[in-house]
């Protein structure tokens, strides 16, 4: 039995070359967002990437269910989208729906991050100032959170209040601070080598600083939502609210705990709330 005939091998080789020159442009064409319409017109699409940390959350675009997030996914990547504005919602049973209008550009993936808060946020009492309820060292630590003041000493004598421009609250290279007029500003730490987060950019144009929240009511304590750099929690006279760092509508704004005179602190991924005499945490999972 002889080896395969030379002409047969050459035929296979020629076929492979032909396939290469057919497959490659098609794959590159597809990979860069080009599609062929039903009328055989060629158009370029874009995509979106929506971060989500909730397994089994589902994404709908313009009211149509697209997909459900699996255990191993950390977000939805959706392409084949014609350039236009889409109504995007991420939802899960038992959680408030997150929604956003997302503008799709050709050849570009617009990024965003969803945050699903439970429909009923459970407040778990830890202790009260009148009866301790916890071993005294833990109670003491939590109480101290509400007592300590962050200060930054600069040039010997000068101190700056917390969440001021000189002493901002930080998370993941993002700084947030309250301006004198009460508006909340986000700035990107440009000394960082990482790229600016998506919420600093609109239509691929990025700013180092932008104003993202103002309120007619006075804004009290401000801190980042645990383990996030795109959402903060603010204290208003009516309660605690989660606010998205966002430049595109609608801005994420949802109540976490509604009660007047409430205070909160964030430590080690937990939100501690002091409502009058009672101290507790809230379960946001």
């Amino acid at each position: 039995m002889e080896p395969m005939k030379r002409h047969k091998r050459l035929a296979y080789l020629a076929l492979c070359y032909a396939l290469f020159f057919v497959i490659l442009p098609l794959v590159v064409f597809y990979g860069t967002g080009y599609r062929i319409g039903k009328d055989f017109s060629v158009f370029r699409t874009g995509g979106m990437y929506i971060h989500s940390e909730q397994n089994n959350s589902k994404i709908t675009i313009n009211g149509q269910k697209i997909r459900t997030l699996s255990t191993f996914d950390r977000g939805f990547f959706i392409q084949d989208l014609k350039p236009q504005i889409y109504d995007v919602e991420v939802s899960k049973k038992g959680y408030k729906t997150w929604g956003k209008k997302i503008w799709i550009e050709k050849g570009i993936v617009t990024e965003n991050s969803s945050l699903l808060l439970p429909e009923e946020i459970l407040f778990i009492e830890i202790a009260s100032t009148t009866s301790k309820g916890l071993e005294s060292s833990k109670y003491k630590d939590i109480m101290e959170l509400f007592l300590e003041k962050e200060e930054d000493v600069v040039e010997g004598e000068e101190t700056f209040p917390r969440a001021s421009k000189e002493n901002p609250v930080s998370s993941g290279g993002v700084n947030v601070w309250k301006r004198e007029d009460g508006k909340i500003i986000a700035t990107w730490n440009t000394s960082s080598t990482k790229r600016a987060p998506y919420f600093f950019c609109v239509y691929n144009e990025c700013e180092k600083e932008f104003e993202f929240f103002s309120s007619l009511l006075p804004i009290g304590y401000v801190d980042f939502y645990p383990d996030r750099s795109d959402t903060i929690i603010v204290t208003l006279p009516t309660g605690l609210y989660a606010v998205g760092l966002d430049r595109t509508p609608p801005q994420f704004f949802q109540p976490i705990y509604e009660s007047s005179g409430v205070e909160f602190r964030v430590q080690s991924g937990e939100i501690y709330i002091k409502d009058g005499d009672i101290i507790g945490t809230i379960d946001l999972s």
Partner: protein
Amino acid sequence: MHTEYSKTPYFHVGRASDLSGKDYLIYRSLEIFPGLLSWGTIIGAVLLSKYSPTTASIFIIAFDCYWLLKTMYLSIHLRQNWKRLKYNMSIDWVKMLKNIKHSNIIHLIILPYHKESIEVVEKAIKSLTESSWNSKKIIVVLSGEERAGKDAQIIGEKIEEKYKDNFAHFLRLVHPKDLPGESPGKGSNISYAAEKARIEILDKNDISYKDVVVSAFDIDTIPYSQYFECLTWHFLTEPDRYRASFQPVPIYNNNIWDAPAISRVSAMSATFWQMIQQERPEKLSTFSSHAVSFQTLYEIGYWQRNMVSEDSRIYWNSLLAYDGHYKVVPISYPVSMDANLASSFWKTLKNIYKQQRRWSWGVENVPYIIFGFIKNKRIPLFQKIRTTFVQIEGFWSLSTNPLIIFLLGWLPLILGGYSFNATILSYNLPIITRDLMTLAMAGLIVSAFISWRLLPPRPKGKGIWSSISMVLQWVLVPFTLIIFGALPGLDSQTRLLVGKYMGFWVTPKYQRGQNVATNNQ
């Protein structure tokens, strides 16, 4: 009788420093070239990913498409050779020789050894007595190394005592160390043995060189039962038998059930590569255990004694000596050898790496070939260009392709910057790469099937899990391609580039339950 080119002072050049003047500069430049090309590709991929990530991404996609199609193309060759191998193993070569005059043919088997155990040496000799070829038409040359010490010589004496009467002639030799013009290794040993055999057996017994077929085996080589009949048939039916080498398919089955999965995958991959090349004889060069007429061997001055890859170099010597009129005949019949196995798992891994590095040190042939093509004006230009391209592409792809596919494919995402990372191409790049590579890996199903069919029967004491692992082991391919393919390839080419020439490394032959042979040169 030597050919014109074989009389030139550079016919047996081992490295650039063997030459002087302009020849040295040319040869040294050619030694640098393969490593420069490979490193240039890797560095170029990194720079392109940083400064033009879109171009880099398109290059990676093109590369993945190329790899997929190449895998499919080579898979066709593998399947075809598998059919041929099965066919050749099924037919009765004794019958095939019935109508061909072959009583004059004598097989001369050269078995070099170093510090291998007596069990390993005896197994090789015994297999020759058990083959269906009349052992009285076999000459055995058992050539130990003086540098291996007294114990090795005693082994040779014992084997000679036990088996010398089984063969037409049995020549036991001790290859002296430090002979001028030699570097330690198999090449110098078997060349010494061949010349001794010529003087002490062939000439003394008036045996025509043209009737002697020399098989240069490793000490662990076990020919399958009708290897010599199959070889004889191919030799006698080849019109250019004195302008040809004969290449069997090495299958690493001697200890396959004892070797760890990573060693088996590595060994099988080498077998598959040889099987593929057997379907492309114009690209085939000799490898490991191969055969050639003694007449041819004598004309070109035997194997080179001053370099490592003597098994492939003999082919290139012959190609240049005969002005391009030389070929390798793939006989598609197996010889069995040892898979890498050491006394511990980590030692086995180390030995696999070293063996792969030694095999990829075959890159030392690239400067030899191109230099020879420059000097020998009688070889057709098209043959020179095609051969040069095939050799350079082969070594380049060995050391760069797995790295590009499995590692560098992520670089545009890491180095490309925000603007690139916002593009849909950056999101699709890992998806496209994953999908194309998944398709390419489907070829592993063919590999798993063929490797399964080539296995010897499962020994008693090995449970069903051993059989299952023979199939599952193929998931290790992406790992072996990089760690035991690309990295040793790059290692060898870099050594050649900087002039840190490698010496011969003897693969230890370890058998479970036997004494360990530990030797490194």
